[in-house]
């Protein structure tokens, strides 16, 4: 089986779908000739032609609006927003339009489209290249929101997203593009080549949307994580020496509550971790569901470890990023309580 980075896996997913399905088109800023600032679409225009893969003006709401029109017509656009930080001009089109075309037309028109965007910090990108906006999409009914943490999942989820009959917000943890990252920024960076999840099958396969992945089985405590935080969780677990179960959610909406509930009922403790700002982050939703579903099993308060409620700072990035130290402290606290 070939080894791929997450970038290659994403590109491969688009390549598979572009090849298979003539209604798939890929576009976005710098996505065509150049192949994207993160190179996710490199070579796709050359291979599939510019009617399938093309550059757009710098207007994210136009990108979303065009995609909606095409999707309603019957095509399957898969568009890129250069950084998740730049999706906000498209927020109206995505949340008020894409999300509701099916509903408000009572099924006459639908909106099968994917909006890919690199998310999260850890690259010294400052306030405008580091944000994690998942929560402002998970609040919107009609949208699905997914986020892979491995090349394998990235390809399988992206194919699933392109084939999904409804609009999917597809978040790509940019810090995982080239290798797993556990938050130890001073450590040596490793590539996907040496990681089992860097093994990516050729051709078509899907990772179904709505299914979480138990990344580590454990008995003491459940960690709910997604994206980069999955690796931070692994590191924190090792550091704290706690037998935690780590669940990689993969899909935020729909959420695999069944898997979560089973785990928390088993462990009786739960810590939620994400990189986005704390207040009204997706962690809040997780905590709400868990405390309601598992109240009688909980032996300590559910903790949140998150980005702070400040814009992502540049110089003190690593004090902002919820790394393994902070998470380990929370794990220990959750065990002590």
């Amino acid at each position: 089986m070939p080894t791929m980075t997450m970038i290659e896996a994403l590109r491969d997913a688009m390549d598979v779908k572009l090849t298979q399905d003539p209604s798939v088109v890929v576009f976005g800023e710098d996505v065509g000739y150049f192949g994207g600032v993160f190179r996710c679409t490199a070579g796709l225009q050359e291979k599939h032609g510019q009617t399938r893969v093309f550059d757009t003006p710098i207007n994210e709401s136009a990108i979303a609006g065009m995609a909606i029109g095409m999707a309603a017509h019957g095509m399957r656009p898969c568009v890129e927003v250069q950084f998740a930080d730049y999706v906000f001009p498209a927020y109206d089109q995505l949340t008020q339009e894409a999300s509701r075309i099916r509903y408000r037309s009572n099924g006459q028109f639908t909106c099968p489209m994917v909006v890919r965007m690199p998310t999260g910090g850890g690259i010294f990108g400052g306030q405008t290249h580091s944000q994690s906006p998942e929560a402002v999409f998970t609040h919107v009914s009609g949208l699905k929101t997914v986020i892979p943490s491995t090349p394998y999942d990235a390809k399988g989820l992206l194919i699933a997203a392109i084939e999904d009959p409804d609009p999917v917000i597809f978040l790509e943890p940019k810090r995982l593009y080239n290798g797993p990252f556990d938050g130890n920024h001073k450590g040596k960076s490793v590539g996907w080549g040496s990681h089992p999840a860097g093994q990516v099958p050729e051709g078509h396969y899907v990772v179904p949307i709505g299914k979480a992945d138990v990344r580590r089985e454990g008995h003491d405590l459940t960690i709910l994580a997604y994206g980069t935080m999955v690796y931070v969780a692994e590191a924190a677990v090792a550091q704290a020496g706690i037998d935690a179960e780590i669940i990689d959610l993969r899909s935020l909406v729909p959420l695999d509550l069944e898997t979560i509930q089973a785990s928390v009922e088993k462990t009786g403790r739960c810590v939620v971790v994400h990189e986005a700002t704390r207040t009204s982050g997706f962690g809040a939703e997780l905590i709400s569901e868990v405390q309601e579903a598992c109240f009688w099993h909980l032996q300590s308060p559910i903790q949140r470890v998150t980005g702070w409620d400040a814009p992502y700072p540049h110089a003190t990035e690593w004090d902002y990023f919820p790394g393994p130290d902070r998470l380990a402290r929370a794990l220990i606290k959750a065990m002590e309580d």
């Binding site: 757009t56 136009a62 029109g69 008020q96 639908t110």
Partner: protein, 411 residues
């Protein structure tokens, strides 16, 4: 004394207790502006964007090159146009009435603007798609959308194809080339461009038409649409209905110092025409030209339909608070129904008697359907609803959390 900067605040020509005054508008003369070649470029389209294309003169005669473009047509197509507009006016009348009687929560007329959508729609083919606003019910009517679902949606009853999910006036009919209306102004405009790109990419031979009000040209999506249409050259017609008002706000607040909305479109490199929207023949002729241009691959075109919103913005609005009561009557380009009627009579193809009869027929037909549909329930007397359907269609397949919520609702 040194000059210093002061802000400018655009004003309408007249406020409630003043005399209507449209003297600032140069409406030109009928027949003066020519028909551009199908492949015209924006840079050569100056006169079409700044002038006003008119076909019918003050006596109802069709004059000039645009008249020639459609002169081969049978008078029956014009009678159909007249009937479409009469039907539209009857529907508006009955629906307004229903709202006044509390049978529906909200309605919104298109009085004075009937020619635009009615004449445009009749030039389209099956498969073409409009991206309308709430004031283009004309497109549905001229696409022969049945009255039952139209009224059904007004009453959110069992005739309602939207199953009560949408507002009374936010129609959708894929079959009739009518894209689901959004309450959020402007959004449909760039979607129309996307759809037209799909027309070109799939080679289906169809076109798209975006619709926007003068006020909503201020929206971001207007810009997106003009820009992307200019860049990718899809087969799209970008219609701007300039009816002088956006609720209480005068069109000057949307146009600023732009000469015309068509001129603004031309700034994007899109050939644009400005047309008397109350002149059924002008609308039919220009639409025919524009649709052919788009369909044959000569790229996008923008059309500013110059008209006047004769009615209130909606049933929630009282225009006498912000403009003279008789302003509509002073509109220099008259009423579209009256003008087409005059033209047909002057051709010897119509008469006052036939007109009166046609008016009555339209009203009777509409009233009859309305009665039938009302029997299934109205707002004051609602038919049975099934709240659980509110969870259908949020997604193609209902995810677990919605299933749980439906259960929690207990219905």
């Amino acid at each position: 004394m040194k000059k210093t900067a002061k802000l400018h605040f655009p004003q309408p020509p007249a406020r409630p207790d003043e005399t209507p005054d449209f003297s600032a508008h140069d409406i030109g003369v009928a027949g003066a502006i020519g028909v551009p070649p199908l492949d015209i470029q924006a840079k050569d389209a100056r006169e079409y964007a700044n002038g006003l294309i008119r076909v019918m003169d003050d006596d109802g005669n069709a004059v000039g090159p645009w008249a020639d473009l459609i002169k081969g047509r049978d008078a029956s197509t014009l009678r159909q146009g007249l009937r479409d507009m009469l039907r539209m006016r009857a529907i508006d009348k009955r629906m307004l009435n229903a709202q006044r009687q509390g049978k529906t929560s909200f309605y919104l007329q298109c009085t004075g603007e009937e020619a635009i959508g009615c004449a445009f729609q009749r030039q389209l083919q099956t498969g073409d798609m409009n991206f309308p606003t709430y004031r283009q019910q004309t497109l549905l009517v001229a696409a022969d959308y049945p009255l039952e679902p139209l009224f059904g949606q007004l009453y959110s009853n069992s005739y309602d194809p939207m199953q009560g999910k949408q507002l009374p006036i936010m129609h959708s009919s894929r079959k009739h080339g009518f894209f689901t209306i959004s309450g959020n102004l402007g959004t449909q405009y760039i979607q129309a461009v996307g759809w037209a790109m799909a027309n070109a990419l799939t080679g289906d031979g169809n076109i798209a038409a975006g619709w926007i009000g003068d006020g909503a040209t201020a929206s971001n999506d207007f810009h997106s649409a003009m820009l992307c249409a200019s860049v990718y050259q899809p087969p799209v017609i970008l219609n701007i209905v300039n009816n002088q008002w956006a609720i209480s706000t005068y069109t000057g607040v949307a146009s600023g110092k732009s000469r015309t909305y068509a001129a603004r479109a031309r700034g994007y490199g899109i050939p644009a025409l400005r047309v008397d929207g109350n002149d059924y023949l002008a609308v039919a002729a220009v639409s025919t030209w524009a649709i052919q241009r788009a369909r044959e691959g000569f790229g996008p075109v923008a059309i500013e339909w110059f008209t006047y919103r004769a009615a209130a913005h909606s049933t929630s609005d009282d225009p006498s608070a912000y403009r003279p009561k008789n302003e509509a009557a002073a509109w220099p380009l008259g009423d579209p129904i009256e003008r087409l009627k005059t033209h047909l009579i002057s051709l010897g193809e119509w008469s006052q008697e036939r007109h009166t009869q046609a008016e009555a027929e339209a009203l009777d037909e509409v009233t009859a359907v309305q009665k039938t549909v009302e029997s299934a329930g109205t707002l004051v007397n609602p038919g049975p609803t099934s709240p659980a359907t509110m969870f259908d269609g949020v997604y193609a397949e209902m995810p677990p959390h919605l299933r749980r919520q439906r259960q929690e609702m207990g219905v």
